[in-house]
Symmetry: C2
Subunit: 311 residues, 2 copies
């Protein structure tokens, strides 16, 4: 398949947060820059497939931001604008870019977020439930009509406060994405492989463990795939890498319309490739100037990085 082929599987629904992030890393800083899981995932998925976003913003959300998302073919019918301020996150990273340090989180209008799917969204064949309250993830699942493939993410906050609800979500999705620390925490199990296999027992047919600079693992009951991360010497801001990964992954599957192991593996590499671009700059800047040629080129590079012959 070539990236210029048309979408075969249909649109991807993305539900998550839109945020205005203030981030400082050893390599620079931004104030009130576009962020949030729904933005990263939507723009990444939109490189491959039509995308429908469900999120909420406040009155301070600029037309410029809206225009940028719309320009990248994200359907914004599900983006509600309500009185108040947009979700704001302020944080920093030290040289250990794997660890985000939160300075402040202002939920603002995100606190009252109740995802309400526009009618034409309800038949979306693909859906990504980004890291939000599992109650809201369940409500989206209730609104979807026979989706073909649903993936979810979660985080330590919900695992600690609403573990049962997280497990309910996992029982109803096809693909669970989370990072290595979250998988270990969810299963109270230090061995990552054991933890991943246990998550499969919670329901999803596929679990994907994101390991940051160490790549990603994808497990099903029959298959195991280990993907490297693209080796970057200049990581400026890791914010949004995981959501970008999820968007690229699901967007690619939606484009191909395939869900076999081979397609899933290619989708994981697509996710890792998209994420590797996101972290090269702050906010969504790199994604906004990314081309399909660059995606294909880096994908091919990754293939040469993992090529190995038989004994």
């Amino acid at each position: 398949m070539s990236l210029s082929a048309g979408p075969a599987g249909g649109p991807v629904l993305v539900v998550g947060s839109v945020a205005l992030d203030s981030v400082e890393t050893p390599f620079g800083r931004v104030e009130g820059a576009l962020g949030g899981s729904a933005c990263y995932a939507s723009v990444a998925a939109a490189f491959f497939s039509p995308v429908r976003m469900v999120a909420v913003v406040g009155e301070d959300f600029s037309y410029e931001n809206v225009a940028q998302l719309a320009h990248h073919d994200v359907d914004l019918a599900g983006l509600r604008r309500v009185p108040g301020e947009t979700f704001r996150w302020r944080g920093y990273y030290d040289y250990d870019l794997n660890q985000a340090h939160t300075i402040s989180t202002e939920l603002n209008v995100f606190e009252g977020f109740r995802p309400d799917l526009p009618e034409h969204y309800r038949h979306s064949p693909y859906a990504f439930l980004a890291n939000i309250d599992p109650e809201l993830q369940l409500s989206v699942l209730d609104q979807l009509v026979r989706p073909r493939l649903v993936a979810c993410d979660t985080m330590n906050y919900w695992i600690e406060r609403a573990r049962d609800r997280v497990l309910e979500v996992l029982a109803r999705v096809d693909i669970a994405l989370m990072n290595d620390a979250e998988a270990r925490q969810l299963c109270e199990e230090p061995n990552l492989i054991t933890a991943a296999r246990r998550i499969l027992n919670y329901g999803p047919g596929i679990v994907i463990i994101k390991k940051g600079e160490h790549g990603a693992l994808m497990l099903s009951r029959e298959s195991y795939f280990s993907a490297p991360s693209y080796p970057l010497e200049e990581v400026r801001d890791p914010t949004g890498a995981g959501d970008t990964f999820a968007g690229g992954f699901l967007g690619y599957l939606a484009r191909t319309g395939q869900t076999d192991d081979e397609a899933l593996r290619r989708a994981v590499i697509c996710g890792a490739v998209l994420a590797s671009f996101t972290v090269e700059d702050f906010s969504l800047r790199r994604l906004f100037r990314l081309t399909q040629e660059e995606i294909v080129e880096r994908y091919d590079e990754v293939l040469t990085m993992i090529r190995c012959g038989a004994l």
Copy 2:
């Protein structure tokens, strides 16, 4: 190439420590069990190629241990037995098996270790200088006559105390092996890829970064290879994994007689496969009961774990 083919490149010299380890992990414990970098690397390499060991032991080193090493086709002409006690290490691992905690280190006869190569060792075409005082590594390099391929390891202890000597060694070897923390420390550089490239500038044509459960990276000026670790649910004792990796890696290269990028990649997987067996049990127990069939089978499994098609 099949593992049953004869060695094409010639014997591997291994210089390092022989130790009697007392190790406790959440999965068991051993007292005074065979260990040390030279043992792990030699036995791993011996699965592929003849091995010549250079190390020192004390009067407490049992005939049983000698017999086990000899049984695995390790040439022990360079194993000196001197008055005193063998090097002893006592340590433990918590559930985070990536971090060894040292309780005590008794250098004993290892403190006076001066590697003196038997005459027939000096023409060894392959050599692994395990993690020992870089002065001793340099002395081995002085004794070797036109080796074809020399690899070295090092550790934080020497990087902190004898950085210049470590750099001298790196300037004289073909392949530098170290773990990710050591690479970052040596280069005072948080980005692992940047650190690895800087190590190439110190001299070796190839640098291999061992990342424990996250696999290994191999870089040269022209090539980049990312290898996964074999996914294990039962890791009993990670002691010796890195040295086993080095032994398997160099042993495989010695067997093939090849040093091209393709052979190096296969060698990295061989190293990772051998290491995955070592950590399944304490001391060298798993290596001592390992078969060539098991190596080939796990190697093939790893290939299926990294298989991915073009876009």
